[in-house]
């Protein structure tokens, strides 16, 4: 009975979110004179020829890989109640420096790629580590410091690109680093597509897809099946309780941020190793922010994040055919935006339902806390988030929230 209700609760919020988002989006489309069903039809149409269809799938997968890694990086921190907005800066620094390192060295293929990956993860971890150190030593909110570090990363990456790491000809419109030699390119998976009997598309399917899957599995195991993961989730649910049971909160903050940053460092690599082979002024930016939305939608659960990344990538691809069909591509933006907002709303609704059930005595024990993947700690327990070990105010409200009487979440924020 409880297991069923737990499962229901964990599925309720995302399902509600998607339904709400679809309804709102359809209403908006009607308001601007677009037939929602026609829009949907265009979005799921992957083209006429097998080659076009496979290309569309490749485009979606290639877009989903960095989104998945971004969501994962955000989620690791989220699970312990840390809001890492700095993923954007972490992956930018990681990409520019690993591109520079990759171009500067020459090694046999697997080793070359490995070095680039390790450099990217290290840089990402160091950049995120600054946030962690500031938090545990000076009590600086990670939200503030990571946003600030995004701007510093932007400027620093630009300096590195236009200065020491510049590889493009002077006067070229697009500034790039030196190209990584071919031994540092990640092989594409187009051979696999061929083996599956699919048409060989003109686009390369990123081999980094496999790395992303492995990282996803590792993170899932780490969070769900290890002592460290338990400590991390426990701290996320209640910092004071975790620290009372012997978890070293400061160490947890540092380890978690290093881990989150290391994964963030991978975000730029699918593009870097799979197609661009340089970091340049045209390198895709903004993935770190999209990662926050993806993590929210995926409820900070690796499988959920994978689904969310695929959904966002699918919507993104749809923007082009929509325009060709004469439908404003803003439809995609509207859907993406409403999904994110709906997740917030749905989490709140499911939390209230859970509390009402608890108050009416359906559950004997305190209300089920879900599987920990509670949309950024927006758990059904009604408590506001633990704000890390250094926050004193939130710790007080946390105590009153845990008593389950009042609902300060909405008003105290």
């Amino acid at each position: 009975m409880r297991a069923v209700s737990r499962l229901g609760q964990s599925l309720l919020a995302p399902a509600l979110a998607v339904v709400i988002a679809l309804v709102i989006s359809a209403a908006v489309m009607l308001a601007i004179g677009v037939d929602p069903f026609r829009a949907l039809e265009v979005m799921v149409d992957f083209g006429d020829t097998p080659s076009q269809q496979v290309t569309a799938i490749v485009v979606v997968l290639n877009r989903a890989v960095p989104l998945f890694l971004a969501g994962l990086a955000v989620a690791i921190a989220f699970r312990m109640g840390l809001f890492n907005i700095g993923v954007e800066g972490q992956y930018r620094m990681a990409t520019v420096l690993s591109a520079g390192a990759g171009a500067a060295i020459s090694l046999p293929a697997p080793l070359h790629i490995l070095v680039i990956v390790v450099v990217a993860m290290l840089v990402g971890a160091v950049w995120a580590g600054i946030v962690a150190v500031l938090k545990v030593t000076r009590g600086v909110s990670e939200v503030i410091s990571s946003i600030m570090l995004n701007f510093i990363a932007l400027g620093l990456a630009s300096f590195l690109l236009t200065g020491p790491l510049r590889g493009s000809e002077p006067g070229a419109s697009i500034i790039t680093t030196k190209e990584i030699p071919e031994s540092g390119w990640f092989p594409s998976l187009n051979g696999v597509l061929g083996a599956l009997g699919l048409a060989n598309p003109p686009r390369q399917l990123y081999g980094f897809l496999l790395v992303a899957v492995v990282v996803g599995v590792l993170v899932a195991v780490l969070l769900q099946r290890t002592r460290f993961g338990f400590d991390l989730r426990a701290t996320g649910l209640s910092a004071s309780a975790a620290s009372a049971s012997g978890v070293d909160a400061k160490r947890m903050v540092i380890t978690t941020m290093l881990l989150s940053g290391a994964v963030a460092g991978l975000i730029g690599l699918p593009d870097l190793l799979g197609s661009n082979h340089t970091y340049g002024t045209e390198f895709t930016s903004g993935l770190g922010f999209l990662g926050i939305a993806v993590a929210l939608l995926g409820r900070n659960n690796p499988v959920g994040i994978a689904v969310a990344a695929l959904l966002f990538a699918f919507l993104d691809r749809a923007a082009v055919p929509l325009q060709i069909a004469g439908i404003p591509s803003s439809v995609v933006t509207i859907i993406q935006g409403t999904i994110v907002l709906a997740v917030v709303v749905a989490n709140e609704v499911s939390r209230r339902i859970a509390r009402r059930q608890a108050e009416s005595g359906v559950a004997v024990a305190p209300p089920a806390t879900g599987d920990g993947s509670t949309g950024g700690g927006q758990g059904p327990d009604g408590g506001p988030p633990p704000d890390g070990p250094t926050g004193t105010g939130p710790a007080l409200t946390n105590a009153s929230g845990a008593a389950g009487r009042t609902s300060p979440t909405g008003s105290t924020s």
């Binding site: 601007i32 236009t162 002077p170 419109s173 930016s285 903004g286 060709i324 439908i327 994110v340 950024g376």
Partner: protein, 348 residues
């Protein structure tokens, strides 16, 4: 607090999603205009899309003029917010049978070669980037933006009463730096002691500077507050913010690419737009489509539009610089005759 975090995340994600698209809503009428038998023109915009009242709109104006002359239809596409799908735009246009396909903006330089090689029967053009050594079916439409900006600098220095002018660049890329170089050289040719504030909205690699009027306004306001009375906005869609700052400080501004006096669409801002440094993307695009219709398009080469071919120049709308036209013409002649060589990269 947690709710605040979620809401913050939501708004950030929204902001990340929604940074472009201003124009695509208004223009999304799909394949529009003209007859069925003319060319099916594909037009892929730079970030900012239609409605930037500048660069992209100018390209569209050229297509419109070509359709009026030769018939045909146009399909416009805007990239997604992080412009990661540029190759996709071109591929899809080619797949849908559009020919010729015009990519607006040097940013397509990265991807156009690869796509063009996959569609050897389609003619591609790229604005602001070269077609040489890219593919046999790519034509580059290049502009001597530094020469036009030189005249902008001449006008600013001649008209400035404080001996202090400004330059707001959108993104610190080599392309916009050539605007800066020309502007500075022009202003110093008139008044070697002039003070020129130069600032870019975003650094290389961050393209938000072309589409961020709020930051454009802040940067320009700083210049006006410091004593500048004329500021040149080479910043695409961010230029509106520069005009607003000029209007708020009784200063004046110089527009870019299009005749922004005509396109700004706000009567309150018109009086501050002293002139615009025209980059006749419309002429270039129209001429290219004309060549395509005549079958005389040459791929793998560049068409250069400069002062001599009237591909760049100043606008006189509003009549604010009519009185100094002889000075402008004088400098124009010197550049055309080669007596003045306008630099392409900024000094000091």
């Amino acid at each position: 607090m947690k709710l605040a975090a979620l809401a913050l995340a939501g708004s950030l994600a929204l902001a990340a999603c929604a940074s472009d698209e201003t124009g695509s809503g208004g223009s999304g009428s799909g394949a529009s205009g003209g007859s069925e038998d003319g060319p099916k023109i594909g037009l892929a915009y730079d970030t900012g899309g239609r409605g930037d009242k500048s660069f992209n709109d100018s390209a569209y104006a050229g297509v419109e003029a070509a359709i009026e002359a030769d018939g045909g239809s146009v399909q416009e596409l805007s990239p997604n917010s992080d412009a990661s799908n540029r190759a996709d735009l071109l591929t899809q246009l080619a797949d849908q049978g559009f020919n010729p396909i015009i990519a607006v903006g040097f940013a397509y330089g990265d991807v156009i070669g690869e796509v063009a090689q996959q569609y050897p029967d389609v003619s591609f053009a790229i604005v602001d980037s070269t077609g040489v050594d890219v593919a046999d079916n790519v034509t580059g439409l290049l502009f001597a933006a530094n020469e036009g900006s030189f005249l902008g600098g001449v006008a600013a220095a001649t008209k400035s009463e404080t001996g202090h002018i400004g330059f707001v660049g959108g993104v610190e890329t080599p392309l916009i730096q050539s605007f800066e170089a020309g502007y500075v050289a022009g202003a110093r040719a008139v008044n070697p002691d002039i003070i020129i504030d130069r600032q870019y909205i975003s650094p290389a690699g961050d393209f938000s500077g072309f589409n961020d009027p709020a930051r454009g306004q802040v940067v320009a306001q700083g210049m006006f507050d410091a004593g500048a009375d004329i500021v040149y906005a080479a910043a695409g869609g961010s230029g509106i913010g520069v005009f607003q700052a000029a209007a708020a400080s009784n200063g004046r501004a110089i527009g870019v690419d299009s005749d922004q006096y005509e396109t700004v669409g706000d009567p309150a801002l018109q009086p501050v737009i002293m002139t615009s440094v025209l980059k006749r993307v419309d002429n270039a695009v129209e001429a290219y489509i004309g060549q395509f219709v005549d079958g005389t398009v040459e791929g793998g080469s560049d068409e250069v539009y400069d002062l001599a071919s009237e591909g760049v120049g100043l606008s006189y709308s509003g009549g604010f610089i009519d009185d100094i036209q002889s000075t402008i013409d004088d400098y124009t002649q010197q550049i055309v005759d080669g007596e003045i060589t306008v630099p392409e990269t900024p000094t000091d």
